[in-house]
């Protein structure tokens, strides 16, 4: 959902205030002018400046103060001396994390899980949207759209419980189906190898219909003239999809792809934590759940913060890098 929002932020129209006609003013005059402009604007629109204070305080307190608090990753945090009073520890906690055998496990689990999720959940909404776009029967189209959209509104807790119930050995729906095909019953969730499949495919089940919406909208905006031209050239449906539909939604695909690749290390905590059990930990322990265990359960605040910081920095670097690549390749980026 966070998708695609970034693009709009940078498209602000240029400020209208261009009073000084003729030669551009010197830098000093310009900064003085800006200050004057601020003063005049505040005097005239003081209510707006007052209005914006509470939400800005929110961002300061709950977003920027935590960023400053992250300094405890470099300190031996203890409650008595507090965040600023605790003694410096340098990179000790990072070293502890990197030398911990769990390091490779959680990093590779996180990476593999989201890579798998990306590969599985990226093309399916596109296929769904392209298929829906071919249908002219309104009732059928609406039904498919509404039904596939529905799981998006179900909570993670419920989706995971549904998965557990359906996959439970002997009594679940899955064992009915495998039994029907004569396959042996398995306890899927007790096997580490199945964790990723369950995670990824329940994700696809839940979000494919929702993610298709954005492509459907892009498809609705395709110039009808292109279809006419394709018809005149004698293109069949598949050729029309390949040569008209796909190129038309490529910009949307690129934006979605950038965002997914950029957030590849930011796998959410909620679902992995719920699907975890002692038997599948070797694959289900990811950075987010590990941070929770170290920080909240073991109360090792400095180590947990170091791990979290490591993850945040990787995310940021990935997003920036992907954006640069995307700009090079397609001439279109997020900012």
């Amino acid at each position: 959902m966070v998708h695609t929002g970034l693009g709009t932020a940078s498209t602000a129209p240029p400020p209208v205030a261009t009073r000084g006609l003729g030669t551009p003013p010197s830098p000093r005059r310009r900064s003085g002018e800006r200050r004057g402009r601020l003063r005049r604007s505040v005097r005239r629109h003081w209510q707006l400046y007052l209005l914006v204070i509470p939400p800005l305080l929110y961002f300061l307190v709950f977003q920027y103060v935590p960023m400053a608090n992250a300094i405890i990753a470099f300190k031996d945090f203890n409650v008595v001396e507090g965040i600023w009073g605790s003694p410096w520890a340098g990179l000790e906690y990072f070293e502890r994390f990197f030398s911990n055998p769990m390091f490779t496990t959680v990093v590779s689990n996180t990476f593999l899980l989201s890579l798998y999720a990306l590969i599985a959940s990226f093309p399916i909404p596109i296929i769904l949207a392209l298929a829906l776009n071919e249908i002219r029967a309104r009732f059928f189209k609406r039904t498919v759209q509404m039904v596939t959209y529905a799981p998006y509104f179900i909570s993670t807790v419920v989706v995971v419980s549904m998965a557990i119930l359906i996959l439970s050995p002997r009594i679940g729906l899955a064992s009915d189906l495998t039994g029907f095909f004569g396959l042996p019953a398995t306890d899927y969730l007790a096997q580490p190898d199945f964790f990723r499949h369950v995670y990824v495919w329940s994700e696809v089940w839940q979000t494919a219909g929702y993610s298709a919406v954005i492509y459907l909208a892009a498809l609705a905006g395709v110039d009808p003239g292109l279809y006419e031209a394709a018809k005149v050239d004698g293109a069949n449906r598949l050729q029309k999809i390949w040569h008209v539909d796909l190129p038309s939604i490529t910009p949307t695909i690129v934006v979605v792809l950038i965002l997914s690749v950029g957030s590849i290390m930011a796998v959410g905590f909620e679902k992995a934590f719920l699907l975890q059990n002692p038997l599948n930990l070797s694959q289900s322990e990811i950075i987010a759940t590990y941070t929770y265990k170290i920080g909240i359960q073991n109360a090792d605040f400095s180590l947990a913060t170091a791990i979290g910081l490591f993850n945040s920095v990787i995310n940021l670097v990935l997003l920036v890098a992907v954006n640069i690549v995307a700009k090079r390749v397609t001439g279109k980026g997020l900012w």
Binding site: G5, P13, Q63, L128, G234, G295, T305, L316
Partner: protein, 309 residues
């Protein structure tokens, strides 16, 4: 007469060529598309249907795995247990409160942020927007945020679920975009000429025109608030404050005994297993009932932000 002679063959030619366009290849392809979409439909519906029919089946049948596509020994026992369980009912009430109060706070703060930032004559708008958007790219992390919530004395209070995630960046961007593109500047100027203050213009002119956008962001916040459990998990100890999702997690995933009032151990166990299905249905039905009505707005909101990146 000439025209009649000319048009008739032309028209048939046209019709024929049209039939040619829907070629056998295309027809086969279209059948394939229908099959594909029907498969999608079944794959999405089957799990939901299975849970639904199980919830109406007898505890014994559910525990024995006899239910497949139709209820076995129809009963409402599961629902009786759900609606007489005080933990679950408290969870429902708590979640209703968190959703209503949290959404009200979030929407108010988002509008307070977005309206000034949407105004071209608000100096510092770009820097502040940048500062807000940056929080989407980088965050302090779990523990640093926890420490802030702790130092504000919010741990184990209802505030912990209402305030720390009150404003999300995405709805804020949506609101800014909407205010800037959908509200004509002339209206504001007219209000200014009439001597209305900025607040009055916001309240009387801008907000009434922003109902669709407000509905969208309210829905976004409400759904997140109703469906999340993580903040409750880390910030709350007192189980009388638990939102429904945390109660669900304890019953459905950790298999905490829901305290069904039954003496026989086996029946109790069977009932506990049936209860899960009924509980899933009960907790999901509110969302399933409202979503067909809100999906349209939701889609519009999704697209509002996506127009031209």
């Amino acid at each position: 007469m000439v025209s009649a002679v000319l048009t008739k063959p032309n028209r048939t030619a046209f019709r024929r060529s049209r039939r040619v366009r829907e070629s056998p290849v295309d027809r086969v392809f279209l059948v394939g598309v229908y099959i594909l979409l029907t498969t999608f439909l079944i794959v999405v519906l089957l799990p939901l249907w299975y849970i639904l029919v199980s919830s109406f089946s007898s505890p014994a049948a559910v525990s024995a795995g006899e239910v497949f596509l139709w209820p076995v020994d129809f009963t409402l026992r599961g629902y009786e247990v759900v609606f007489t369980n005080s933990t679950i009912l408290t969870g429902f009430a708590n979640s209703a409160f968190y959703t209503v109060a949290g959404t009200a706070i979030s929407v108010t703060l988002t509008v307070m942020l977005a309206y000034p930032l949407s105004r071209a004559d608000f100096v510092g708008r770009k820097i502040l927007t940048g500062a807000v958007v940056f929080t989407m790219l980088f965050a302090g992390g779990l523990i640093p945020t926890y420490l802030v919530v702790q130092s504000m004395g919010m741990l184990d209070t209802r505030w912990a679920l209402l305030i720390p995630k009150a404003v999300a960046v995405w709805p804020a961007i949506l609101a800014i975009t909407y205010f800037r593109t959908a509200i004509p500047d002339e209206l504001r100027e007219a209000g200014e000429i009439d001597g209305a203050s900025d607040l009055r213009i916001l309240w009387r002119v801008v907000l009434p025109l922003s109902a669709p956008m407000l509905a969208v962001i309210a829905l976004m916040y409400a759904i997140v608030q109703w469906n999340s459990y993580f903040d409750a998990l880390i910030y709350l100890r007192d189980d009388s404050l638990y939102p429904l999702q945390l109660v669900l997690r304890n019953i459905l995933i950790l298999n905490t005994d829901a305290g069904a009032d039954v003496t026989a151990a086996i029946e109790r166990q069977q009932l506990a297993s049936l209860l899960k299905y009924s509980l899933i249905v009960v907790s999901t039905v509110p969302m399933m009932l409202i979503y067909p009505f809100v999906a349209r707005y939701f889609t519009r909101g999704l697209l509002l932000g996506a127009v031209k990146g």
